[in-house]
């Protein structure tokens, strides 16, 4: 069975990485930080980046598991 994680990007970060979403093999992934590095091997992790797993805010060192949706985005600016 293929293990995968859906990765999503929003706003200026979506522009920076050049895509809104992708699916990556989750078999060697342990944390949110590792998801970024596998998905974006040529991009350093921005200092002010925010992350969510399954639509809840998480730390970059939070664990991930097969089937998770991991999102990366800049500071929010609504309201």
């Amino acid at each position: 069975m293929i293990m995968s994680i859906k990765v999503r990007y929003f706003a200026s970060l979506k522009d920076r990485v050049g895509r809104a979403e992708q699916t990556i093999d989750s078999s060697r992934l342990s944390t949110v930080r590792s998801v970024w590095h596998v998905a974006n091997p040529d991009e350093t992790l921005p200092d002010n980046i925010l992350a969510a797993v399954n639509m809840d805010y998480v730390d970059l060192d939070s664990p991930v598991k097969d089937g998770d949706e991991v999102a990366f985005f800049p500071p929010v600016t609504g309201g």
């Binding site: 200026s12 639509m55 809840d56 805010y57 999102a71 800049p74 500071p75 929010v76 600016t77 609504g78």
Partner: protein, 151 residues
């Protein structure tokens, strides 16, 4: 509690009236205070004239985080009900961006809870603004100001 994400323009006063007539009928006689915040789009920001804006959001997470914000406020203050309406998509100056309305028995709870919900929305709800300047340049708004410390 009602949370609405609107891809089209909305009239905040009509939203309040409709919610009061449709959802708050069981609270007649209990409501002593209604606190309302309406945020509208300015035509200036950081020294530049702004002629339009695009508001992006994270569907699903936005609603989830807003519901969480209201639930947390309900645990801290005696709120009878709350309504949040937030615009997404293309916006023009003077149009409403956000409505936060809080109903309570007493003004202190209504004022404090609505302020808290609004500030939490500004820092936690996944929305992002991209401005279109008069010069036709586009730029992402990089961060929200702290509503408690800036004028």
């Amino acid at each position: 509690m009602l949370i609405k994400i609107c891809p089209d323009g909305f009239d905040p006063w009509q939203e309040i009236q409709a919610y009061q007539q449709n959802a708050l009928t069981t609270l007649i006689g209990k409501i002593g205070a209604t606190s309302v915040f309406v945020g509208t789009m300015r035509d200036f920001n950081e020294g530049d004239q702004v002629k339009g804006m695009m508001l992006e959001h994270y569907p699903g997470m936005t609603e989830k985080q807003l519901a969480k914000i209201v639930t947390e406020a309900q645990s801290q203050w005696q709120i009878l009900d709350a309504l949040i309406v937030h615009r997404v998509g293309a916006i023009l100056p003077d149009e409403a961006i956000v409505l936060v309305a809080v109903w309570s028995s007493h003004r202190g709870e209504a004022f404090d809870a609505s302020r808290n919900i609004m500030e939490a929305l500004k820092s936690k709800a996944p929305f992002w603004k991209k401005e279109l300047l008069d010069s036709d340049q586009e730029r992402w708004v990089s961060k929200n100001t702290d509503g408690y410390t800036t004028c």
